[in-house]
């Protein structure tokens, strides 16, 4: 195999000027996670108990459902960026790396969509009878 063309040698190998966006997004979502998870922990510890009635009423409030949805977006975005670096560092075979990155994207988008749907459904429609 020859060395190929100039563009062929560099394609897919590194910075395409998206690196700094990845870095900044990781920090921004980190800040979002910091605030929103701190809110979740405090909010949960302030509940009188963890019976279904209590947590169901808690999660139905707009002041809980909205930050909870924002938290899921921020966390899964952060997970995507973080585990992407993880995969890029430890999977050296290009095929395996691509497969793992695909799996990661399916996981974060699927899990986030599921969580957001559940919170929204609960807040809009209430508990099934």
């Amino acid at each position: 195999m020859g060395n190929g063309t100039e563009i062929g040698r560099v394609r897919g190998l590194g910075s395409a000027k998206h690196g700094s966006k990845h870095w900044i997004d990781q920090r921004l979502t980190a800040l979002g996670n910091l605030l929103l998870t701190a809110w979740l922990v405090i909010s949960l510890l302030m509940l009188p108990n963890f019976q279904h009635e209590t947590v169901a009423a808690w999660m139905a409030q707009p002041s809980v459902a909205v930050p909870l949805i924002l938290m899921l977006v921020s966390i899964f975005w952060h997970v995507k960026l973080g585990l992407q670096v993880f995969i890029e560092d430890y999977f050296h075979d290009e095929g395996n790396k691509l497969a793992m990155l695909t799996l990661l994207n399916f996981y974060v988008i699927g899990a986030a969509a599921f969580g957001i749907f559940m919170v929204a459904k609960h807040a809009f429609a209430g508990v099934p009878a």
């Binding site: 701190a38 510890l45 999660m59 899964f76 997970v79 993880f86 899990a111 559940m118 919170v119 609960h122």
Partner: protein, 146 residues
């Protein structure tokens, strides 16, 4: 491309002296992976079980917290598994949380002096263990009170 196996390589993990800062960095990755997978999947299960109604919430509790006296072998095993998950995920969360604050501060350019850097790294462990302990005590206290 043919590679000379004796080519000079850039310094890697093995040549550095081990210390709290190195530990904090490695732990940040491991704890991140734990909360991103086990932690988030359990949280989503909990959220879905709330939305699913009293029965699905009871089923979540049966599998994760306490299956009661008529527990099957699988349920007892699952309860023990989730007790470890609870402690592991809780500590991982707090460690990643405090270690993350350290990283954000370092991104601002602060804390690169050797001693300061080491002190902050150790502080993340003290903070995460303390926070985990406090939450566990609080929960245990509640459960016994109920």
């Amino acid at each position: 491309m043919a590679q000379n196996p004796n080519r000079p390589l850039s310094p890697h993990l093995g040549i550095y002296q081990k210390g709290a800062h190195m530990m904090a960095s490695i732990t940040h990755r491991i704890t991140g992976f734990v909360i991103a997978t086990v932690g988030m999947l359990t949280l989503l299960w909990w959220i879905a079980s709330i939305a699913g109604g009293a029965e699905s919430y009871a089923s979540f509790q049966t599998w994760t917290i306490d299956a009661g006296k008529e527990a099957t072998g699988w349920q007892t095993a699952s309860n023990w598994f989730f007790r470890f998950v609870a402690v592991g995920v809780l500590w991982s969360f707090f460690q990643h949380f405090f270690s993350g604050i350290r990283h954000l501060l370092m991104d601002l350019g602060a804390g690169y002096e050797l001693k300061t850097n080491r002190t902050w790294a150790i502080a993340t462990y003290i903070a995460s263990i303390t926070a985990t302990g406090l939450v566990l005590l609080y929960v245990a206290n509640r459960m016994m009170g109920a």
